[in-house]
Amino acid sequence: MAENAITTKELVKKENLVYQKTKLLTDDVMHYCPGCGHGTTHRLIAEIVEEMGIQSEIIGVAPVGCSVLMYNYMNFDMQEAAHGRAPAVATGIKRLLPEKYVFTYQGDGDLAAIGTGETIHACNRGENITMIFINNGIYGMTGGQMAPTTLIGMKSSTTPYGREVSLAGNPLNMTDLIVNLPGTYFVSRQSVHTPGNVRKAKKAIKKAFEYQSLNKGTCFVEVVSNCPAGWKMTPVESNKWLAENMLPFYPLGDLKVPEE
């Protein structure tokens, strides 16, 4: 052991603490599968809410899908919306509590299939809400069916031979669509499959919350994520697959940034 190595006794001292679980996450055991991006993204949101000191000013809207139980994990007020309707629910909250921070957290089936209408119109009205869009290209909760964002050739339980355009249509790139709407103020696409990407995603999500107080329009962050269970891969394999297959079709970066 090196001369200057820290002992366990020293390590646990308060002044040596470099990281701890945010108090904005509850102690409920998360139901997410090992390696799933939801847990990481939940933690980022909770950390951001804590850092911004807005626990008493935030109301979240959970979707239907894997993250339907998000309200169990977040130590702040939340509403659970009907499938796809989170942007409408958030609109109702924000219009009546305009001084609060309101956000939706939705998967690809929720935001880009059954809730396409609500997504487009909330973004086009420029509702002053933050929308977090988890895109893992599959319906995780119901057992791995095709999502609107499932890639061409990608296998799912309802495209067992791979998604064929002639049969199942094209994958929908929702973020590319909504970036063109005048009501959106900040649009970014991130991922949480590497530590570096987690840091970048946190930065983008934090901006999407901070900008909300400007009342300039919808702030939208897509998080390209994985689904080890649905994709039938190990967590490590799924992150590799994500980088090689999802990111070429859903490239990362800021799509719309406010002019400084």
Binding site: I59, Y71, A81, V89, R95, H121
Partner: protein, 355 residues
Amino acid sequence: MEEYVLMKGNEAIAEAAIRAGTDGYFGYPITPQSEVLEYLTAARLHERTGMVVLQAESEVAAINMLYGGAGAGKKVLTTSSGPGISLMQEGISYMAGSELPCLIVNVVRGGPGLGTIQPAQSDYFQSTKGGGHGDYRLITLAPASVQEMADFVSLGFDLAFKYRNPVMILTDGALGQMMEKVKFKPQQPRSKKSPHWATTGKTPDRERIFITSLNLDPACQERFNIKLKAKYKEISEKEVRYEKIECDDADYLFVAYGTSSRICQKSIQLARNEGIKVGLFRPITLWPFPYKEIMEMTGQVKGMLSVEMSAGQMVEDVKLAVEAKVKVDHYGRMGGIVHSPEEIVKALKQKIIGG
């Protein structure tokens, strides 16, 4: 002192909503009720109560905006007609399942499908027997005048918040479109207080609040269903409303609500001119339905005619109420046709007296 004004039923709902201190209106245009949204957007609400009004992209979105606003503890309202109300059923079920209060107005037109834009009473089943999925009940108020269209807005909100349940005003295109005198209540301020169950931001002095209708554990879901059942029982015991007209000496009874109940009053005169003693029993709450009160009439009358602008929907509840003690039948025109007083008297003679 407020004066009487002459106003359409739809406009009366809108003005009454402002006066009741409604916080938010979310709706989508559909005939025959678009005047509500038009009135509210023209009412310069920023100079009055600051009530929020938003034209939603669909009825589906509108009812979910109500969900969000109600979850924030606010008084929220939407209005629509049959096809739009059908689209709202999912949201209504979620609101009942999350115990959220709201007021929904259905200005009924003829159906099924796109149907007609003329008045009908064919959404009785949809409103009183569920409409959406799951075990829930919708408190349903049936106004019969423009004055009641206005009055039932504040009554509806009171019941919605008292029981934390959606309330529907079930009216029709005739009452929505016709002009009548109406006197409004004085302006009530919008509430500054939030109910204890509302998501308004978690402060250090309380636990976090989440609003949901999800119960993955069946035992938990059943407990919730039992709680709802008890609530609906309490509403059934305490909130039945009805009106009896010329019933004291009646040998026969019309049972009718809304527009039909008004036509029946003319039919009563026509029948009594011929020596037929008929009265009117008008349910004001369609759910809870006045089963007991109608049952009590079986000791006095020989038969009842349920008069509705439908193929016969409320008649099933009237039959349930009387337990086959007297003859019950239905009469009603459909598809936007409104029955005449003479047709109703003829039906009473054929189906009840002579039948």
